[in-house]
């Protein structure tokens, strides 16, 4: 298999896994009911699949941008930049993807932890459901695929 085919394969698997994860959460969606505690298994599975898909996508873009010898020069550069920018975005974005129900005042500030208030005020901080996984980065991936076709058309014309 050539490098180009590996890159295409990685993009396909990454984007497919992302949409598969989204599909699972959409098909098996259960609304919150006040009577019983919600089962979060579906959310956990779908979000894990989505994140693995995005991981494969980012890895493919970076590695393809470095070792893709049989790719067009400009395309190689573009997928490397997109991959590195995605990694940068995710390293910041991952901080907002934590599922933490600890009330925020327990983490305190640089001077030390605050004391927990005696009232039940702190309960409002509990997120009680998994954080949403991002999807806007997929626009960039689709842009990358569109760039391939654009370059191929330019190459044919010249």
């Amino acid at each position: 298999m050539k490098t180009k085919e590996w890159v295409i394969f990685g993009l396909i698997i990454g984007i497919a896994l992302f949409f598969l994860g989204a599909m699972i959460s959409s098909i098996f969606y259960q609304p919150n009911t006040s009577e019983e505690v919600k089962d979060y298994t579906v959310d956990k599975v779908s979000k894990s699949i989505k994140l693995i898909g995005l991981g494969i996508l980012t890895t493919t873009l970076i590695v393809g941008g470095i070792v893709g010898h049989d790719l067009h020069k400009h395309f190689k550069l573009i997928i490397l930049i997109i991959g590195l920018v995605l990694l940068l975005v995710f390293s910041i974005g991952a901080q907002f993807m934590k599922w933490d129900d600890t009330p925020s005042y327990y983490y305190g500030n640089s001077q030390g932890a605050f004391e927990a208030p005696s009232s039940e005020y702190g309960e409002e901080y509990a997120s009680s459901r998994p954080p949403s996984t991002p999807g806007f980065e997929l626009v960039v991936a689709i842009g990358a695929i569109a760039t391939v076709f654009a370059f191929r058309r330019i190459k044919r014309k010249t």
Partner: protein, 96 residues
């Protein structure tokens, strides 16, 4: 295995470990005041992954001559930016 292959492997393993770490946090359930396991495991995996990725990008960009000059410059620039951003994040948030 050449240095180049080692670098590529480092980036692949690093980025995948980072994303697996984020997924582990969600998969193991919410971190609460008494149940800290998701936070501990996910932070450990994420930090190892990001460390591997940053190291491979930066070292690969500086020391491996087989790549084109544009690729090397990009790797070094982004390696430094990612390193700085991660130093900032680690200093600002209670845990990674």
């Amino acid at each position: 295995m050449s240095k180049k292959d080692l670098m590529i492997l480092g980036i692949e393993i690093g980025v995948m470990l980072f994303f697996i770490g984020v997924a582990v946090n969600i998969a193991l359930g919410p971190t609460t005041l008494t149940y800290r396991t998701p936070q501990q495991i996910s932070s450990f995996i994420k930090l190892i992954g990001m460390g591997f990725a940053t190291l491979s990008i930066l070292i690969g960009g500086i020391f491996i001559d087989k790549f084109e000059i544009v690729t090397r410059v990009l790797l070094v620039v982004f390696g430094v930016v990612i390193l700085c951003v991660n130093i900032g994040i680690i200093s600002l948030v209670p845990y990674y």
